[in-house]
Symmetry: C2
Subunit: 407 residues, 2 copies
C-alpha cells in the first residue's frame, strides 16, 4: 500500500465539482458533486439514529438495491432532517437534476446533507447548483480538494486522503473525503464520508469490507456523544483499474481491506482531532481486554466522557475520571487488574497500578499532556483483545460554537 | 403532606454536626456527621459504576445487612475511589472513631466521600474530625443546614428539604440533604443524598419505596453524562414518630412514598439546576409514550445531549437537536407522530408537528428560552406513559470548572 496525494478524484474515472449554491452560507462553496461515468457498485453505512434525515433514507434505498450508482450530490448548511415529505421531494428533485444534466438514471444518484436540522432545503438553489457543477466536473486532484472543502460545516480543515495498492494484477487507487465535526459519536458519527475506488469488486464483498472496517475506524470516534441524523459513509467502486474482479476473499480482498482501513482510520482521526472547538486529539488505547467488544466499549467510554475531555483540555492528569468512565461503560472488570498510563510525543507515565494510585511527578504529567495528541493507555490484564478510540478535548470553543450554531 | 423548613435534623431523634477537618479544602467545613441515638433501619441505592469507591462498598454491606445503623460520616474534597486497600482501611478507621466517641458499633456507621478520585484520604484528619463533631451534635435546623454546606464540592448552593405527613396515627417527619454537581448522570448521579425520618417502617418496605422513587427522581437527572464512582442515597428511619409501624402496603405506605417522592424530586431538581457551570434548569417532559421506560429514556436523552444543552445555554430554539437526541436514545419511534414544544414561565411555542417543522416566531422563542427554567415538551402520540427528566445547560463555566478541577 502506498499513500499518495489526492482524494475522491484520485481513482480512475472519478470527477468532482463544487459551487457556491448559496444554500445557507455566504461567500463560500456549499455544494459538491462526485461523478463516475462508468457505473459503480456501492456500499455504505448510515446513522443508527431512528430520526434519519431524508437523504439518509434516500441513500439507504440506493445502496440496498442492486442497481449501479453514478453520483453523489452533497450540500452543507442544511441537514434536510426532520423535514417531512418536502424533504424527500428535495432529494428526488436533486437527483433528477443530475439525471437531466448528466444523463444517468436519477435512481443512481445518492444525496447527502449536513447542517441545521428541521429546516427545508431551497430546492431551486440545489438544482441550479447541480446544473452548474455538471459543467465543471474535473478529475484533477484540485477538484477533489475543492469538493472536500465545500462539504465542511464547522470543520476547520478539509479532510481527504488517497492510497494505491496492488490487486488482481493491477494498481488500484482508493481515495476519500469526509467532514465532521460536531454531533460526532459512534454508530456513526456526525460525519459524511465519500470514498471512491477504481477497484473491480462484487457488491456483497464491498459491503462486507466496509461494514467490518467501519467498526474500528469511524465507529471508534466521538466528539460529543451526539449521534447525528445524517451520518453517511458511501463507497463507490467503478472497476476502471481493470484488476481481476474480486468475487471471493483472498489476498486481493485483504489488500483492499488494508487500504480501506487506512483510509477510514485516517479520515476518522482527522475528524476527531478537528472536533468542534478541539485543541487536541485525545486517544484511548485499551489492551489485554477480555474481548474485542469490551476493548471497544472501554476505549470509547474514555474518550467520550465530558469530564475526561475537560481534563485533557486542562492538561490535568486526573486519572480517576478515566477509570470512572470505564466503570460506567457497561463493560465489567475489576479495578484491581487495571494499569493506566498517559502517553504522548513528550513521554509516558504510569499513574494507576492495579487498584492503587501511583504518586507521580506532576511536572512530567503536565509535559506529556501538553502535546497535540494525548493517549490514555490502559492495560486490563484480562485477555488479549485491544481497541483504540479517538476523540478530542472539551473546550470553551465547543460551547461557543454550539450555543449559537444557527446564527 | 406539608413542606416545612429544615433538613436532616428535622425528624425526631436526628442530630448533625460538621467541622473544618482540612482534608483538601481550606477555610471551610468539609466533614459532616448525621447521628441517631436510636437505631435506624436503612435503605439505599448506590452507583451502577463498576469502579465503586471504597465508601460505597462499605455502605452497601451495611445496608444489605439486617443490623441497625446509627450514623453516617461524610467528607468532601477527596472521593476515596480507586484507592485500593488503604481506601478501605480509611472507611473502617472512620467508623471506628465514631464507635469510640459515640458508643455505637462501628458496623452501624456508614461513610461517604465526594471529591477527587485516586487520592488517599488523610485518615488522622478524618478521625480527629469525628472526635470533634461528636461533641458538637445538635438537633437544630441550623445544624442540619451547616451539615448540608459541609458536603458541598462544586455546588454553589446547599440543598436541603423537609416535609411532614400523617401515617399510623402520628405526624411523621422526613428530611434530607444532598450535594451535586458534576459527574451527574442517571444510575445514579454524582450525588450524595442523605434522608432521615422518624417513621417506623420495616426495612424491606423502606428499601422498596426508595428503589421505586429513585427511578423517577434522582435517576432522571443528568449534568454531564458521567456516572460517578461514589453515588450514594442513604435513608435512615428511627421510628421515633411512634406511628403504627408500616409492615405492609396501604394508605400509610402510600403517604410515605408521596413524601419520599417530593423530597427526592426536590433535591434532584436542585442538583440539576446547580449542575457545574449551569445557568438554568433544563427540563424535558415526554408524554403519551408507548411505555414508562420509553418516556424515561427519551426525556433523559434530551437533557443529556451536549448539543441540546449548548442550545439551551445559547437560548437557541434549535429543536432538531432535541429530536436528534431522541432518535439515538435507544427508544424506537416514528418522527411523523411527534409534536415538540418549548415552554417556560414566559410562554409556550410549538416548533415541530408530526414530521414537519413549524415556521415559528424567533422572538417569541427567544423570550421563552431566556427564562431560568426551560422545558422541552414532547408529545409522542404513541401511548399514555410519561416521564420528566432534569438537567442543565452546557456553559463555558462547565469547561472552566472541569479543565482544572484538581487545583
Amino acid at each position: 500500500m502506498k499513500i499518495i496525494e489526492g482524494g475522491v478524484t484520485s481513482a480512475k474515472g472519478f470527477e468532482a465539482a463544487c459551487c457556491e449554491a448559496g444554500i445557507k452560507y455566504k461567500d463560500r462553496t456549499d455544494m459538491a458533486l462526485v461523478f463516475s461515468k462508468k457505473p459503480c457498485v456501492s456500499a455504505g453505512t448510515f446513522t443508527s439514529n431512528v430520526v434519519k434525515a431524508a437523504c439518509v433514507q434516500w441513500d439507504q434505498k440506493i445502496v440496498a438495491s442492486n442497481e449501479p450508482i453514478h453520483a453523489v450530490v452533497v450540500n452543507s448548511g442544511i441537514a434536510n432532517a426532520c423535514t417531512g415529505k418536502e424533504g424527500f421531494d428535495a432529494c428526488e428533485k436533486t437527483a433528477k437534476a443530475v439525471e437531466k444534466t448528466l444523463n444517468v438514471p436519477y435512481s443512481s444518484v445518492a444525496v447527502a446533507s449536513t447542517g441545521v436540522i428541521g429546516m427545508q432545503l431551497p430546492v431551486e438553489k440545489l438544482t441550479a447548483g447541480v446544473e452548474k457543477m455538471s459543467t465543471l466536473l474535473d478529475s484533477s486532484i484540485q477538484a477533489g480538494t475543492a469538493a472536500s472543502k465545500a462539504i465542511m460545516t464547522t470543520d476547520t480543515v478539509n479532510k481527504e486522503v488517497a492510497v494505491t495498492f496492488e490487486a488482481g494484477g493491477a494498481t488500484v487507487t482508493l481515495g476519500g473525503m469526509s467532514k465532521g465535526s460536531g454531533m460526532i459519536h459512534p454508530n456513526m458519527c456526525t460525519m459524511l464520508a465519500f470514498l471512491t475506488t477504481d477497484l473491480a469488486i462484487s457488491k456483497s464483498l464491498l459491503q462486507e469490507a466496509v461494514s467490518e472496517v467501519v467498526k474500528d475506524s469511524f465507529n471508534m470516534i466521538t466528539v460529543d456523544g451526539d449521534t447525528s441524523t445524517n451520518d453517511t459513509l458511501l463507497v463507490m467502486a467503478n472497476g476502471e483499474a481493470l484488476n481481476k474482479k474480486i468475487t471471493e476473499k483472498g489476498q486481493d480482498y485483504e489488500s483492499f481491506k488494508e487500504a480501506l482501513f487506512y483510509v477510514c482510520t485516517f479520515l476518522a482521526k482527522k475528524m476527531a482531532a478537528d472536533g468542534e472547538g478541539a485543541s487536541k486529539l485525545f486517544e484511548a488505547k485499551v489492551v489485554n481486554a477480555k474481548s474485542k467488544e469490551d476493548a471497544r466499549i472501554l476505549s470509547r467510554a474514555i474518550v467520550g466522557s465530558n469530564l475526561s475531555k475537560a481534563a485533557i483540555f486542562g492538561c490535568d492528569a486526573n486519572f480517576g475520571r478515566f477509570l470512572c468512565a470505564m466503570g460506567y461503560s457497561g463493560s465489567d472488570f475489576d479495578q484491581n487488574d487495571v494499569e493506566l498510563f498517559f502517553e504522548s510525543a513528550n513521554g509516558r507515565l504510569q499513574v494507576f497500578d492495579k487498584g492503587t494510585p501511583i504518586v507521580f511527578d506532576e511536572d512530567k504529567a503536565l509535559e506529556i499532556m501538553k502535546a497535540d495528541a494525548v493517549t490514555v493507555f490502559v492495560d486490563m490484564h484480562e485477555g488479549t483483545d485491544e481497541a483504540t478510540a479517538w476523540g478530542c478535548d472539551l473546550t470553551y470553543d465547543y460551547v461557543k460554537i454550539n450555543a449559537d450554531y444557527r446564527s
